[in-house]
Symmetry: C2
Subunit: 231 residues, 2 copies
């Protein structure tokens, strides 16, 4: 039996806790990060708290190994006295949406080979896609994830606003959104690019700008310029 302690009460902590509860060969406990007295012993302590709290929370953990789950915090930002590692799941977690862990890429890092193998074992208990990713690569991945997830979702948000303003069901756009996402399996994003920006269709671009609000115009102009510059 491997004992796991999860610290945190956000989406990552609770999805991870639920996943390990169903796994064989582990005993999992979860505690709140605001209640760090009488910390249970564990083979692996997973700190799933906000980036800003990782250093302070980790300094209070007597256990070893201690890992965090952040995409943007270096492994050596952990302040525990013992061994350190990272257990980063490159996926988006929402309260009301079930996560299919078999599709989640686990990006792991540890100070030594033995700890890496332990983290790999845990990741394979709940998932399938496991990668060794160092702190520098993880930071790059996290930034890339902001673009492909957070920023794409904001593009959906603007599309949804435009539909609402014109009494058109946003559902009409769903097939296009899914097709756009699945295209990258067969084409690179550069190859898949279509639309007025890449065509340099200035008449359409101007017509679109005339119908947008100021903030939407700013995004439209900035992204169009970037597409046209091949950035």
């Amino acid at each position: 039996m491997i004992s796991i302690l999860i610290i945190g009460d956000g989406n990552v902590a609770s999805h991870l806790y639920q996943a390990f509860l169903k796994a064989d060969a582990v005993i999992v406990t979860k505690i709140n990060s605001r209640n760090l007295t009488d910390i249970p012993n564990a083979d692996v302590t997973i700190i799933a708290v906000s980036d800003d709290a990782i250093a302070e929370v980790s300094s209070k953990i007597p256990n070893s190994l201690v890992v965090h789950t952040s995409g943007s915090v270096a492994m050596n930002s952990l302040n525990n006295k013992g061994r350190k590692g990272v257990f980063y799941m490159l996926q988006t977690f929402s309260k009301n949406k079930i996560v299919d862990f078999s599709e989640v890429p686990f990006c792991l890092e540890a100070e030594n080979e033995k700890d890496y193998i332990l983290l790999e074992l845990l990741a394979n208990l709940i998932g399938k896609k496991v990668y060794a990713i160092n702190s520098e690569q993880r930071k790059a991945l996290h930034i890339a994830a902001v673009f492909v997830n957070n920023f794409s979702n904001h593009m959906y948000k603007i599309g949804s606003d435009i539909c609402a303003e014109n009494n058109v069901p946003f559902a009409i756009l769903e097939p296009l959104i899914k097709e756009t996402a699945s295209k990258i399996e067969t084409l690179s994003p550069a190859e898949a690019q279509t639309g007025p920006a890449i065509r340099k269709d200035q008449r359409t671009i101007n017509e679109h700008l005339a119908l947008l609000n100021k903030q939407q115009q700013e995004i439209y102009t900035t992204v169009t310029k970037s597409i046209q510059n091949g950035n």
Copy 2:
């Protein structure tokens, strides 16, 4: 038998031609828009050319009904003498990617009910999702499509560039991209928003900006501001 003439040689024209070739009850012919002599008779002539060429190409078509396939050109921009309509497929078409027409929303418009019913019949021969969308609504949909398709794809492009620069396989991001797109079936884009922008996590935002090039920084800043303003 309904006779269809498709004019154009881009992606839309050739995908549409292939789809109608497989359909029952229609005879389909396709000609190049640069060769408009001896235009064959047809019950429906579908002009699938660039937006800028629709007015001129349509002026040379003696047939009626004539429809275009553009998301951003009004029905009355057609310059044929006979009846007019629109046969807009809100989907992205690429040369090297098969299109599943059963997933494509057909947005139709005609000057009279009889022509609308004919276009609806044609759309149902090759597809399943058919909507009556007037010229104003179609323009709004087209702008929304630019955001959810063209601009999201450019976010993938930037993510892919960042991965390449850091020797990380872009494939790690594929599950996240698909999850982001499928989330909108159960959550609105506003509800689905995660990441440093919506959390107002300024430390992470600053760290990301420090690692981006100038054009990427401009997009990052503009989209982050828009997310934070709730636009």
